[in-house]
């Protein structure tokens, strides 16, 4: 609570005490005490609680900003006091109470908003406060922005990595939960890249910075998160437009309620009972405050975005969160999105010797090559390469590599190489469509082959069913890869539609085609790794990028960023957005419904001013509490 709020709380308490005191005073004092005694006494709490509202209402009129809630409250309470004076009823309690409860409501609202603002920013509090930079051999604690590129920083256990860099000394495990929502710690060793925002858990590491603080992952993410929810959703825009029309409409409605029935009665020759209708009109004004709606909707979106970013899903604006809920078509890029984008040895078939022995020969033959396939074979072998045993290495572009290993003539390469060397081989039934094949021959005899493929990401076999459950109607996969490989991946993941052999331009055309085929209200999302998919990410209704931690292009081009590259998070994001939207609609219908009923009851005279203010404050409290639910996300 800040100073302003404390002062407000004091005002509320004092007014409350005075009102109780006055209640008893009125009961016990002699009836003979005449006005304006009571009037003056009641004006004390009225001004204590309402002076700022009256001032604001007055200023509003001067600045020609008439129709706001202060104006509504001022007119309603002043009107009620005037009525009490006119009818000599001496009932001023109502006016003071209306002001009091209005202030209680406002107080609660400010409190709730501040509280959730704090909660949400704590949730996203990943900003590193300092960096331990090594200067003249000693760690010095400085602001991260003062560290320049290429300096060495030290990160102790429990500290946040402040700047992107490369580990030069020491090893540790990293908690990346704040960035990715991933709870399994990641181990880093010297030579590994390290991104800012992670928390070092076990050891001290020294890092050579590769970026400035402003360019580091953490700064980019913070900027993105802070600027999100600035893009307003349709529901939010609807509400601000709505309140602009609503308040004046209610005011004129109240005026009509105060004037028309008495005039009609007068024309009909009956008593106009002005006071009764004016009272009803004032009640009408009290009910009409649009606060519940105006506050709860941005709050819901803010909470939803906060909850999502806690799980490693960054949404760049309320409008995207809103659109996510209506995603019916999901288009995936294959490499790097559904698959790891890293080539791995996935099988060794028809080997004439021990698999490891074959791998050893192949790895030694490939040891000088920088081809991705060579690299994957070498990493699958995993042991040290003893290049004394290899000689006469010859790389034949588009075919493979030949060498002499321990006195044997080795050839490792594709089928063309085998044909060229005159080695007979059988088509392998096991590895159709699996990936790329590297055949091996020893001294002109076939010795087996190694299958290298881009692995499907772990644990995403049921991706399609998760997405279908989240309301997606059709899943499509686009890839530049060959038809066979694409089919194999799509079948494993139960993707509905596959387009293979595409160039980046073809992807845009295909997405355009899908966009034109879908229904008006349905949304199409494209999920890609963001670097070469930027045009498609922009063209789709929602572009979802695999953050690939540190890829600026991905973060910039997309509307939603999945920090840990897990495509299952897309389903989560849809679930969160749907929950958020459900809450928004609940609040709209609930608030408007209750207000509508109360306005009706007020107009016919069933609801008095007390009920009106309770309805107003109550609806707001419930709407705010409901909005905060969006922070919690959905049960896993």
């Amino acid at each position: 609570m800040n100073k302003k709020q404390k002062k407000m709380l004091m005002r509320i308490i004092i007014t409350f005490i005075i009102m109780i005191a006055l209640y008893f005073l009125k009961k016990f004092l002699d009836e003979s005490i005449k006005e304006p005694f009571w009037f003056i006494l009641y004006m004390i709490p009225y001004f204590i609680i309402g002076h700022d509202i009256l001032k604001k209402a007055f200023k509003g009129i001067i600045n020609r900003q008439v129709f706001d809630e202060c104006f509504l409250m001022a007119v309603a309470t002043v009107g009620a006091i005037a009525l009490a004076l006119l009818t000599k009823s001496g009932d001023y309690t109502e006016a003071v109470a209306v002001m009091l409860f209005y202030q209680v409501g406002e107080f609660f609202q400010t409190y709730a908003v501040r509280k959730s603002r704090k909660n949400i920013s704590e949730l996203m509090d990943i900003r590193p406060d300092y960096a331990n930079v090594i200067r003249d051999g000693i760690p010095v604690r400085v602001d991260p922005s003062e560290v320049s590129k290429g300096e060495i920083i030290e990160v102790n256990p429990g500290e946040k990595v402040p700047i992107d860099g490369k580990v030069v000394e020491g090893k540790t495990t990293l908690d990346t939960a704040a960035l990715t929502g991933e709870s399994v710690p990641r181990t880093v060793n010297p030579g590994d890249d390290i991104i800012s925002g992670c928390v070092s858990l076990s050891g001290v590491v020294r890092i050579e910075t590769t970026k400035d603080f402003g360019e580091s992952t953490i700064s980019k993410i913070l900027e993105l998160v802070e600027n999100s929810s600035s893009k307003k959703s349709k529901s939010e825009n609807f509400i601000s437009k709505f309140s602009r029309v609503y308040t004046p409409a209610v005011c004129y409605g109240a005026l009509a309620l105060a004037l028309i029935p008495p005039i009609v009665l007068l024309v009909l020759g009956q008593s106009p009972v002005w006071t009764k209708w004016i009272y009803r009109a004032l009640t009408f004004l009290v009910i009409s405050c649009p606060c519940a709606l105006v506050i709860s909707i941005p709050l819901t979106f803010f909470a939803g975005i906060g909850g999502a970013s806690h799980e490693g899903i960054l949404v760049k604006g309320s409008n995207y969160l809103e659109a996510m809920a209506a995603v019916k078509y999901l288009v995936f890029d294959k490499t790097g999105t559904l698959t790891k984008g890293v080539f791995e040895v996935t099988g060794i078939h028809q080997a004439v010797m021990d698999d490891d022995e074959l791998l050893k020969i192949a790895a030694h033959t490939e040891c000088k090559s920088s081809h991705p396939i060579a690299k994957s074979i070498i990493s699958a072998y995993g042991k040290d390469i003893d290049d004394k045993n290899v000689s006469d290495i010859e790389e034949l572009g588009g075919y493979g590599i030949t060498s002499s290993y321990s006195g044997m003539n080795v050839a490792v390469g594709n089928s063309k190489l085998m044909d060229k060397c005159g080695v007979a081989y059988d088509p392998c039934p096991e590895c159709r469509g699996e990936g790329t094949t590297a055949h091996i021959s020893l001294d002109g005899k076939y010795a087996g082959h190694i299958v290298i493929s881009d692995r499907i990401k772990d644990g995403i076999e049921n991706l399609s069913s998760m997405l279908k459950k989240a309301g997606v109607r059709k899943t499509v996969m686009l890839t530049g890869d060959s038809e066979e490989v694409a089919r194999a991946v799509a079948d494993r993941l139960h993707i509905d539609e596959v387009h293979a052999g595409l160039l980046p331009g073809d992807k845009v055309d295909l997405v355009e085609k899908l966009l034109s085929e879908k229904n008006e209200g349905d949304k199409l999302a494209f999920v890609g790794d963001g670097i070469n998919d930027a045009p498609v990410l922009r063209r789709a209704d929602i572009g979802i990028a695999m953050g690939s931690l540190g890829s600026d292009a991905a973060i910039e081009a997309a509307d939603v960023v999945i920090m840990d590259d897990d495509p299952r998070k897309v389903a989560r994001a849809i679930e969160i957005s749907r929950k958020c939207l459900r809450i928004v609609y609940e609040n709209i219908y609930f608030a408007l419904g209750i207000k509508g009923i109360c306005l009706l009851l007020g107009a016919v005279g069933i609801a008095n001013m007390w009920m009106a203010i309770f309805a107003d404050v109550g609806v707001m409290v419930i709407a705010v509490l409901n909005a905060i639910r969006a922070l919690k996300g959905v049960k896993k």
């Binding site: 908003v113 600035s230 941005p298």
Partner: protein, 72 residues
Amino acid sequence: MKKTYEIEVDCANCANKMEEAAKNTKGVANAVVNFMALKMIVDFEEGADEKAVMKEVLKNCKKVEDDCEIYL
């Protein structure tokens, strides 16, 4: 040219009014008030003097909601 300013305002409706007032200020191409983050993002028109414009923006905002603040 876009710039972000920290603001102080109490209610969401007032924030909407500030946004409206800022938008209607001369030299401002567009303005967005983010009530939850307490930020105002102002997109200036080309060649506008931001400092002078922001003074006007603050004046106009005070007009519609005297209980607000923009930290320039």
